[in-house]
Symmetry: C2
Subunit: 194 residues, 2 copies
C-alpha cells in the first residue's frame, strides 16, 4: 500500500507507482474532456490535461500518517486540474456532473535555482492520478486511477483508503472542494458545501 | 515602492496594492485572450483567466531582499496563467508572440484546515498582476500591471525593479520560464532557453 501513497495530497488522490511517461505538454485533441478507457479498463490520460482548468495546488500536504515528502525530506507540489465541461457545470450548479474527471499532478519542489533564493517552485513530474465520476461504470459512482508517469492508469482498488476518506470528508460529493478556493466560493453560494 | 512588492514571485511580477475585487471565477467571454485596455490605458483583467492555461505555482518564492510572506510570517502561493493563444504559440515555437498576456495570482496559504494537518494549501486571493507583451504599445515591448483585487490594472512604472530583473534574468524573452516546468522543456527543445 505504501507505493500507492507517495502523496496524500490536496485532492486526496493516492499516487500510484510505475513512472514511465514523458514530462511534456501536448495538444493532441483526441482525449478531450471526460473519461476514456481502453479495452483493459485502463483510463487514458488526456494528452492535453495541462490545458484543462487548474483548481489549486498544495505543497507537502498530508492528513494521514504519511507525509507528502520525497525520500530526501523535500515536500512535493500537487496541481489539480478539472475537465472544462465538468468545471463549467460546477460553476452553474455547485455539483459535479457524471463523467467528471479530475487529475492530480504531483511534482518535485526545488528551493534553489536561477535567481530564487527562498520558498519553493515546481520541477520534475513525479506522477499523475485521476478521480473519475462514472455512475454507470462504478458501483460507488467515483473511482481513482494511478498513472505514475505513464499514459494509461489502472484503477486503484476500492479497499484503498482514498475511497473511504473521500466519501467521509469530501466537501462536495466525493471531492475535496475545501482545498479549491474558487470552487469553494461557488459551492457555498449554491448551498452544496458540506 | 514597498507596496508594489507584496510578492517577489514565481514569475517575478510585483503585486500592486488596492485590494477591491471579488474572489470568484467567471465565465464572461468578453475578455478572452490577449490584452485589452480601457480609455485610461488601464489593462482589463480577463474575467475568465482562471480558465486559462496554468503554467506553475510557487510558495513563498523570493529572490530579492523582500520575502514573499504576509505580515504574520506565512508564505504565499503564486499561480501563473497564460492566455491560451500565447501558450499554444509557445508550444510550437518556444517563444512568446506579440499580445502575450501572463497573469500572476497571489493567494494566502493555510496549513491547518479540514483534514489536512501539514503542508500548505491555497486560500484567499491577495492580488493579481500581469505581464504583457505589446510591441507597438510599450517601448520595451513588455510591461507590468497591478490589479490588486480589482478588475482593471495600472501600469507599474518602468523604473520598478521587475523590469530590469526580468530583462536580465528571464530564461525566454522577458519571462521566467525557468520556473514553468512544462514550458522549460519546450524552450530547451526549441533552443530558445537562455
Amino acid at each position: 500500500m505504501k507505493r500507492l501513497r507517495l502523496s496524500m495530497a490536496a485532492a486526496g488522490f493516492c499516487i500510484a507507482a510505475a513512472l514511465t511517461g514523458a514530462d511534456q505538454p501536448s495538444r493532441d485533441p483526441s482525449h478531450n474532456d471526460g473519461p476514456h478507457f481502453d479495452a483493459n479498463g485502463e483510463l487514458l490520460l488526456p494528452a492535453n490535461y495541462r490545458e484543462w482548468v487548474f483548481l489549486s495546488s498544495g505543497l507537502g500536504m498530508n492528513y494521514g500518517p504519511l507525509a507528502a515528502e520525497a525520500g530526501d525530506g523535500n515536500p512535493r507540489f500537487d496541481n489539480v486540474f478539472a475537465s472544462p465541461a465538468a468545471y463549467r457545470y460546477f460553476l452553474d450548479t455547485g455539483r459535479w456532473p457524471d463523467k467528471t474527471l479530475l487529475l492530480l499532478e504531483v511534482r518535485a519542489a526545488q528551493s534553489k535555482g536561477s535567481i530564487n533564493n527562498g520558498g519553493h517552485f515546481q520541477s520534475d513530474l513525479v506522477g499523475v492520478e485521476a478521480e473519475v465520476k462514472d455512475e454507470s461504470r462504478f458501483p460507488g459512482k467515483w473511482a481513482f486511477f494511478g498513472f505514475g508517469r505513464g499514459t494509461s492508469g489502472k484503477q486503484i482498488p476500492t479497499t484503498a483508503s482514498c475511497y473511504s476518506c473521500h466519501a467521509a470528508n469530501g466537501a462536495v460529493d466525493n471531492t475535496f472542494v475545501q482545498f479549491y478556493p474558487t470552487l469553494l466560493t461557488v459551492a457555498k453560494a449554491k448551498g452544496t458545501f458540506k
